[in-house]
């Protein structure tokens, strides 16, 4: 079973939920797909992390064979190739590793080499297996890393909790692609509502089962009203709690503490029932 936790806005509580739900669930995997700013490992403190590079292919031009026909640079939809001063130049960070240039080159002047765009870290924390991706600074797209993370986690045959990146872009779409259930997290503000609407629309396009968690509630019914209007199930409301916020900011897994455990346990129970 794959459960994705997403929110339009950053800092709403995706990692808080993903970490605590995966910690409480049995036989679980936590996957940090927020590869631009992974922070799950701040909670899951693991000493012997295994690390593996994520490689993509980038083209290399053999200038002895290239006759400057520019078929490759015209073909490239990502504008990663340009014909400058009689030679084809490759701009690695724009390349999406589709391999198209190599296929269309009539001179067979293009080969591919490996390019490391980031790493996958993994390790065991008590009952939970932890996977975290990290994109190299300066690289454009984390999608290949997310693909690798999801491939690894699906091999394990466990309950997978996917900590999605914020927003509703390519990386978010990739991270929820195999999800059986999407937990949307929102905070009660106008900004929070706007971004909730974005991810709600995304999850609806992908025809996902959806539940909503309202975090940092203050009594403002803005999100509750939205949920009612859309017929969206509210899994729980987490009140604005200074102590919870402080513990969480110190990298503590708050569901280890009895008084917070129930909060997350109830969400798990409801989600499991909804999926099955």
């Amino acid at each position: 079973m794959n459960i994705a936790i997403l929110s339009g806005k950053g800092g709403t509580g995706k990692t808080l939920l993903s970490v605590n739900l995966s910690y409480l669930a049995e036989n679980s995997v936590y996957v940090d797909c927020d590869v631009e700013e992974p922070n799950g490992l701040l909670y899951y403190k693991i000493d012997n992390l295994e690390q593996e590079s994520v490689l993509t292919k980038i083209p290399v031009i053999n200038n002895d064979l290239c006759d400057g026909c520019r078929i490759c640079s015209d073909f490239c939809k990502f504008n990663a190739l340009a014909f400058i001063k009689g030679k084809i130049k490759v701009y690695n960070d724009l390349c999406h590793s589709c391999g198209g240039c190599k296929l269309v080159c009539p001179q067979k002047a293009i080969t591919e080499i490996d390019n490391a765009i980031g790493v996958i870290k993994s390790g065991q924390y008590e009952d939970t297996f932890v996977l975290s991706g990290e994109l190299k600074v300066g690289e454009e797209s984390g999608v290949p890393i997310i693909n690798r993370l999801l491939e690894e986690s699906s091999k394990l045959n466990k309950t997978v909790f996917i900590d999605s990146p914020p927003g509703n872009g390519c990386t978010v779409m990739e991270s929820i692609s195999n999800a059986d259930y999407c937990i949307l997290v929102a905070e009660p503000s106008i900004f929070g509502l706007h971004n909730l609407n974005m991810v709600y629309n995304l999850a609806t396009v992908f025809k996902k089962k959806i539940g909503l968690v309202i975090n940092k509630t203050t009594g403002d019914p803005i999100i509750n009203n939205y949920a009612k209007e859309k017929g969206l199930k509210i899994l729980t409301e987490i009140p604005m709690d200074f102590e919870l916020g402080k513990l969480n900011s110190e990298g503590e897994i708050v569901s280890k503490i009895p008084k917070y455990k129930e909060l997350f346990f109830n969400i798990l129970e409801t989600v499991f029932k909804e999926v099955n």
Partner: protein, 110 residues
């Protein structure tokens, strides 16, 4: 010398475009023949990396000087490879920008 400018409309009376990569037109002027020509920017609505394509376009028109309000990082790399000198435009029409450049009144952008 061949000069290029990103322009909002076509021709020497156009104002300069704010965005080099996604400009509507390029005005390309030859100082020897004193002739200029406007080209539609085919890369205007591209998904990403349009600066690369726009730079490639002007480089392959043998442009040596680009007059523009700014350029992005991706364009800059390509323009440097193509040894194009970049000068900062003023908020006047194309014709005035070219005259100012020839009088040495424009500053190099990088």
């Amino acid at each position: 010398m061949i000069i290029a400018l990103p322009t909002k409309t076509s021709g020497e009376k156009s104002f300069i475009s704010d965005h080099f990569g996604r400009t509507n037109y390029f005005y390309i002027y030859n100082t020897e023949t004193k002739l200029g020509e406007a080209y539609i920017n085919a890369n205007k609505d591209g998904q990403g990396g349009v600066g690369v394509k726009s730079s490639e376009f002007i480089i392959n028109k043998n442009v040596e000087v680009l007059i523009t309000p700014s350029v992005g990082e991706k364009s800059l790399r390509v323009l440097n490879e193509g040894e194009v000198k970049i000068y900062k435009s003023i908020e006047k029409i194309v014709k005035v920008n070219i005259e100012s450049f020839l009088n040495g009144e424009l500053k190099e952008l990088f």
